[in-house]
């Protein structure tokens, strides 16, 4: 069990798992970075994305790659539009309020969104079939490797690169980054700060929806997936550094790969691993691996 092939195998599995985690957690991190709101409802938005993917996939009824790409193109914007509604109607009112009130707001949204999801989609376990071309496996080093996981390994860095380009090579990205570091200055320069915040929130929701699409074909989905994932995402965000997308990537990979290996050698520790790492990081380097110390 110790041979190199097997280790590589686990490594690739951990990396692909980390990619999905990254897509969800980066949204959470961005929203925190700009809006300073810990969005508990992020998990619910991710769940809604997964259920939307289910509905659309039964609509397309095909297991083609094209159908799956359509899910990737249609679901995240839909969740982003939902985010737009939430931001304009609710979140906007509480940015200046206390953190705790914001927490209560996002928690009440969890209750409402989860309840609505149950009304709309029912409680059954749902399955989104993988596209035919990704359903099988590739023979790597004499071991079968699921194509879908490899697909995630390609998509993850692509999305990370896309995010990086958006944040570091576009004007909108400049504003978003400026809003993280110097929110007061941004307003003074005549930038529409509320607009930047809305856009960031939508981007966060977009990522939650995208994570939902990827997850829906990886595992079956039910009403518990939102709550299940949100704390793990916190761990990722904290480890990487609050508000840092690069940190979220690193955090996701640490959790993804770490859990994959711990499952093999100390499987009973897998459950506590994210919390141990989170606690260690907070004790040793509280601003996270990629974050900056709070001013």
């Amino acid at each position: 069990m110790m041979n190199l092939q097997f280790m590589l195998f686990i490594l690739i599995n951990g990396l692909s798992q980390g990619m999905v985690l990254f897509i969800i957690a980066s949204g959470l991190s961005l929203v925190f970075g700009v809006l300073r709101v810990i969005n508990f409802a992020h998990g619910s938005l991710y769940m809604i994305g997964a259920f939307l993917a289910f509905s659309l996939s039964s609509l397309f009824a095909g297991k083609t790659l094209f159908a799956f790409l359509m899910l990737m193109l249609l679901v995240p914007p839909a969740v982003a539009v939902l985010g737009l509604g939430l931001e304009v109607s609710l979140f906007r009112r509480i940015y200046r309020k206390e953190h705790l009130l914001q927490l209560l707001l996002t928690y009440s949204l969890v209750l409402i969104l989860d309840g609505l999801t149950r009304i709309i989609w029912g409680g059954q376990i749902r399955n989104v079939p993988r596209p035919e071309i990704l359903a099988g496996s590739l023979d790597l080093f004499g071991l079968f490797f699921p194509s879908y996981n490899l697909f995630l390994l390609i998509m993850g860095p692509l999305i990370a690169a896309g995010l990086w380009t958006l944040l570091y090579r576009s004007r909108a990205g400049n504003y978003i980054r400026a809003a993280v570091t110097y929110p007061e200055m941004l307003g003074a320069l005549g930038v529409n700060v509320p607009g930047v915040m809305t856009a960031t929130f939508m981007l966060g929701c977009f990522l939650a929806g995208l994570g939902g699409v990827f997850m829906s074909a990886l595992a079956n989905i039910d009403l518990s997936i939102g709550m299940e994932r949100i704390i793990e995402c916190f761990a990722v965000v904290v480890i990487g550094g609050l508000g840092s997308v690069g940190g979220a990537l690193l955090g996701s990979l640490i959790i993804g790969v770490g859990v994959a290996f711990i499952q093999i050698y100390f499987s009973r520790m897998a459950l506590v691993f994210p919390y141990v790492i989170m606690a260690l990081v907070l004790i040793i380097r509280p601003w996270g691996l990629f974050g900056k110390p709070e001013r």
């Binding site: 810990i38 609710l90 009112r93 509480i94 309020k97 206390e98 953190h99 705790l100 009130l101 927490l103 209560l104 707001l105 928690y107 009440s108 949204l109 969890v110 209750l111 409402i112 989860d114 309840g115 609505l116 149950r118 009304i119 704390i231 916190f234 761990a235 904290v238 609050l242 009973r268 459950l271 506590v272 919390y275 141990v276 989170m278 606690a279 907070l282 004790i283 509280p286 601003w287 709070e294």
Partner: protein
């Protein structure tokens, strides 16, 4: 955050109110006793409310009073619960020593966890408490040989003297005593120092005050009271369950403080009582609401955030202030 020290008003009037409330709460079970089985149920709920009020009050020592948001307070509630469960069920210890041990063991746990946590401020403190809380939850879940895992520990002995009525009175007395202790504490030099660490930690440090030390002691005291609440809750239900340690249990007193008003000593207790009542009554009002109680509760909480962010006590103070003002 209000910076004024008078956020904990103390007047003769408030003693009068406190006395009246205590009197009502003491008479309550005898009134409920006249209502037959329905009364028996509401007495049970009242006991739960009294215990959970203590849990919320204990958190507020750190939250409203100390200005530090703990996301892991259920850890101490749960440790108290499991202490009582293990001692009484497996150790054969009696009710009184077990109940005395609960706050002590919880305080010990709070000492260890707090030692790490108070070194962090703001959000980092919050998340570190969350991490420790979840760690204890996971460990309890996995040590199923001792803790019964997610099945929990059931069948905790009930001393013959403890009828529903006497247990309610015991809880009420303990919680009222705890409340008085907390009140005393907040007004003591220790309390004033804690308040200074909340308002102006830099200044406190310059004055040579060991800020972290004070915060740690406050954290330990809060953990101890939470442990007592956990122990009482376990004896009420006659079981301890991993759910008691879960982060969603930590969220309950935070929301109770927000709904009730976290800048008054009694606010969290009111908020906790209101939330428990809402959760119960929404399902009872109409059969059609049972499946959507979560949505209704969510909408109510949303209303609190948007329209009464200072909580119930805040609204009350506002009304009183308005009335005092000459028209």
């Amino acid at each position: 955050m209000p910076s004024a020290l008078e956020s904990y008003p103390s007047t003769h009037r408030s003693w009068l109110i406190a006395g009246t409330v205590m009197a009502v709460l003491t008479i309550l079970p005898f009134v409920l006793g006249q209502l037959g089985r329905t009364g028996e149920y509401w007495l049970w709920v009242a006991t739960e409310m009294v215990i959970m009020a203590l849990f919320s009050l204990s958190l507020n020592l750190i939250l409203g009073f100390g200005g530090m948001v703990s996301f892991g307070h259920a850890a101490f509630f749960g440790v108290g619960a499991y202490t009582v469960a293990l001692l009484m069920k497996k150790g054969g210890v009696g009710f009184v020593p077990a109940m005395a041990a609960a706050p002590l063991v919880s305080a010990l746990a709070a000492g260890v966890i707090g030692w790490f946590c108070v070194r962090r401020v703001g959000l980092y403190f919050s998340i570190l408490t969350l991490a420790f809380g979840q760690l204890i939850f996971m460990i309890t879940l996995q040590l199923y040989g001792y803790t019964g895992g997610d099945d929990g520990i059931h069948g905790i002995p009930r001393p013959v003297l403890l009828t529903p009525l006497s247990y309610y009175l015991v809880c009420l007395a303990l919680v009222a005593g705890s409340y008085l202790l907390m009140r005393f504490l907040t007004k003591s030099p220790f309390g004033l120092t804690i308040r200074m660490t909340r308002e102006n930690p830099e200044r406190a440090k310059f004055l040579g005050i060991n800020v972290k030390g004070y915060q740690l002691v406050n954290f330990i005291i809060a953990g101890g009271f939470a442990g007592l609440a956990g122990g009482l809750f376990t004896e009420l239900n006659r079981f301890a369950q991993t759910e008691f340690l879960h982060w969603s249990k930590s969220a309950e007193p935070i929301f109770a403080s927000l709904v009730g008003g976290m800048y008054s000593l009694i606010g969290p207790a009111i908020g906790s009582t209101v939330l428990i009542f809402l959760k119960i009554i929404i399902q009872q009002i109409h059969q059609g609401l049972v499946e959507i109680w979560g949505i209704i509760l969510g909408v109510i909480l949303l209303g609190v955030v948007l329209f009464m962010p200072e909580g119930i006590v805040g609204v009350y103070e506002k009304i009183r202030a308005r009335r005092r003002r000459p028209q």
